[in-house]
């Protein structure tokens, strides 16, 4: 036998380098944002501040910036009012709650969408995939049908949102595990079920007043957010956002798939329950406050990924700021662009779709 010398040659330099055709000459293609996520975060925080301030100024009743500042200060310090009292009232009682609500709902929907995209290993899902919005919509519809109490509508909406996801989760259990495919299919089943039930409620509702109320509510609006709403739902959403931020690196590991994540030492079933629970609570609370606002949970995480890449350590905080800023901006347009307020669920898509289309065409993301 003659021994072949090639195998020996390879072995001597084996392990030092790997010569793949793709490996050799491809330049590093990390974007500037991926290398400086902290800077992007600070910039976005600035943008958010500016947008919030502009939102305080503009509306049906325009308030000059110095009056906004004075009105804000007067609610904390005793300052003599040298401006119209309606300005203070508009800023403090109307616009601030609405801006905080927009911030929380936008941030919450965006971070739960980003978390779900990681957990489902699919950038096409949003936080509504397990049926939370569809269930919450049904709860609100029967609430409107049966009573005139906004509180009852909100409670039913929240409860049915959680119930829908609970049903989808229960349906997807296979031998004490919840495979991702089963979760998606169960979510589709539950979503269809509650959509059909909502249609039925609309069909039987009084077409003169109840049905338009249901339709308008389902389209979403920050119009009827009240201070008590914020007192109760605000902390719920804020705490859930903090919870998702706390497990953000673990979501990275979960994107490798259940089996691999478990091999890496992650208790995947527990982590999935935590993510589903927090995202669902956020979305259900958001729907309670503002009706169904689609699009944000799907698209904001994509915009975030274009800015800082797929690492959830940075993507989740960025999604919080982007989602909040986006909804504040859209809501400002919703209440100023037309004589009557435009439903925000329509605007998020009408404004968001072209922005997203442009981003998508200009950067070719790697997913």
């Amino acid at each position: 036998m003659r021994q072949s010398s090639t195998s020996a040659d390879v072995q001597t330099n084996g392990g030092a380098t790997v010569t793949g055709t793709a490996a050799a000459n491809q330049a590093h293609n990390r974007s500037w944002g991926e290398q400086h996520p902290g800077t992007i975060l600070m910039l976005l925080l600035g943008v958010l501040g500016v947008l919030a301030f502009v939102a305080l100024m503009v509306g049906r009743y325009m308030i000059p910036p110095e009056t906004v500042i004075a009105a804000l200060l007067s609610s904390v310090f005793p300052i003599e009012e040298t401006w119209a009292a309606t300005a203070t009232s508009a800023v403090v009682n109307v616009r601030i709650p609405r801006i905080i609500a927009g911030l929380l709902v936008g941030a919450g929907l965006a971070i739960s969408g980003a978390s779900f995209q990681g957990m489902f290993r699919n950038p096409l899902v949003s936080s509504q995939i397990l049926g939370v919005a569809s269930g919450a919509g049904f709860g609100a519809a029967i609430g409107i049908l049966l009573s005139d109490s906004l509180v009852l509508v909100q409670i039913l909406s929240f409860v049915f949102g959680l119930l829908a996801v609970g049903m989808a989760y229960g349906l997807s259990r296979v031998r004490s595990t919840t495979p991702i495919l089963m979760l998606v299919l169960s979510g589709i089943v539950i979503t269809s079920l509650f959509s059909a039930l909502t249609s039925m409620v609309k069909y039987v509702a009084d077409p003169m007043n109840k049905m338009p109320a249901i339709v308008f509510w389902l389209l979403g609006s920050l119009n009827h957010v009240s201070a008590p709403d914020l007192m109760i739902l605000g902390p719920i959403i804020a705490v859930s956002i903090v919870g998702l931020l706390a497990v953000r690196w673990r979501i990275n590991v979960l994107t490798m798939g259940d089996e691999e994540a478990r091999a890496l030492g992650v208790n995947t079933e527990r982590l999935k329950v935590v993510i589903i629970l927090l995202s669902t609570v956020i979305t259900a609370a958001a729907v309670c406050m503002s009706g169904i606002i689609g699009w944000i949970g799907l698209v904001i995480p994509h915009m975030g990924r274009m800015l800082v890449g797929p690492d959830n350590r940075y993507l989740l905080p960025i999604s919080v700021l982007l989602g909040g800023a986006f909804l504040i901006a859209v809501d400002t347009v919703a209440r100023t662009a037309a004589p009557a307020e435009i439903p925000i669920g329509i605007l998020t898509a009408v404004i968001g779709a072209p922005i997203f289309a442009v981003l998508l065409r200009r950067n070719n993301p790697g997913w």
Binding site: M1, Q3, S7, A8, V10, Q11, G14, G15, A16, T17, V18, T19, G20, T21, A22, A23, Q26, H28, N29, R30, G118, R121, N122, P123, R175, A246, V247, R248, W249, R250, N252, V253, T255, M256, G257, E259, E260, A261, R262, A263, L264, G265, V266, N267, T268, L271, R305, G309, P310, D311, R313, P365, G366, W367
Partner: protein
């Protein structure tokens, strides 16, 4: 050199009832490279997943340092056992360094993010398999051979005493196959206990101290590679003819070569 990981009389059935294997027992000693051979579908991957605690056997036990892994938490197992799966690349374009960093998950609390020390361990692991230059590349833009090395680096960052590899050389070109084998041999020399499922009898001859062949739901043969990888056993395992030849000095080892009869198509 004690036994690190062992399976005792384990069986695995699919939920529908089809049996993958039954009555399998084997023990892997510390520092040993143990190869699992056998035709497609004999359950080599399934056996490895049982050993990694990823699926529960229908019958029998897996012991890790004498402890039944059925009662252990995922992070307790993962600190001892690294698993290199056969997988597709991540759906998201994570940086290679971030993929390797995931190996630290079992050492971190549920709300923790990796520290500078974890980053360093991940960088060391990349260096260990010779792919430090890939650290800042998106994992969706590297070759299959590179991805395999990334997965091995991730398992090394886990700092386990035992490494289970599921067909690490399948789908790789000859050069990358040898590079992966070289990494495996280096890890074994550093004292890691390794179990590797493979389709290549030659790779078992090159790297292992022990071999088991799975066939028809059972172990067909087990022992040293010289005992197990013979012309007769290979024929019984795979149903084809092979010749076992000997490479002289300086290699002084055996190779396994498939042989085919004369082509029937060209008979006169």
């Amino acid at each position: 050199m004690g036994c690190r990981i062992s399976v005792e009389d384990i069986a695995f059935n699919y939920p529908g009832g089809a049996t993958v294997f039954t009555g399998i027992s084997l023990a892997v000693d510390e520092g040993c490279v143990y190869s699992l051979l056998g035709p497609n579908g004999t359950g080599k991957s399934t056996l490895l997943k049982c050993m990694a605690g990823l699926i529960s056997p229908s019958h029998g036990r897996v012991h890790l340092d004498g402890r039944d892994i059925a009662g252990m938490q995922p992070h307790e197992i993962a600190r001892q056992v690294g698993f290199v799966p056969q997988t597709q690349v991540s759906p998201f374009p994570f940086m290679v360094r971030d993929i390797v960093l995931m190996g630290r998950a079992s050492h971190l609390g549920p709300f923790a993010t990796p520290s500078a020390e974890d980053e360093e361990i991940a960088a060391d692991a990349l260096g260990r398999v010779g792919i430090s230059h890939l650290a800042d590349r998106p994992c969706t833009g590297i070759s299959g051979g590179e991805w395999q090395l990334v997965l091995i680096a991730r398992a090394i960052a886990q700092r386990p005493g035992i490494l289970l590899l599921d067909e690490p050389t399948s789908h790789l070109d000859l050069g990358n196959q040898v590079r992966v084998l070289d990494v495996i041999r280096g890890l074994a020399e550093d004292g890691m206990t390794i179990v590797v499922a493979t389709h290549f009898p030659d790779h078992a001859l090159l790297t292992s101290n022990q071999v088991a062949i799975l066939k028809d739901q059972r172990i067909l043969a087990m022992g040293s590679p010289e005992e197990v990888i013979g012309e007769d056993t290979m024929h019984r395992a795979y149903g084809v003819d092979v010749r076992i030849l000997h490479l002289d000095d300086p290699f002084n080892r055996r190779i396994c070569v498939p042989v085919m009869g004369p082509s029937r198509g060209t008979a006169p």
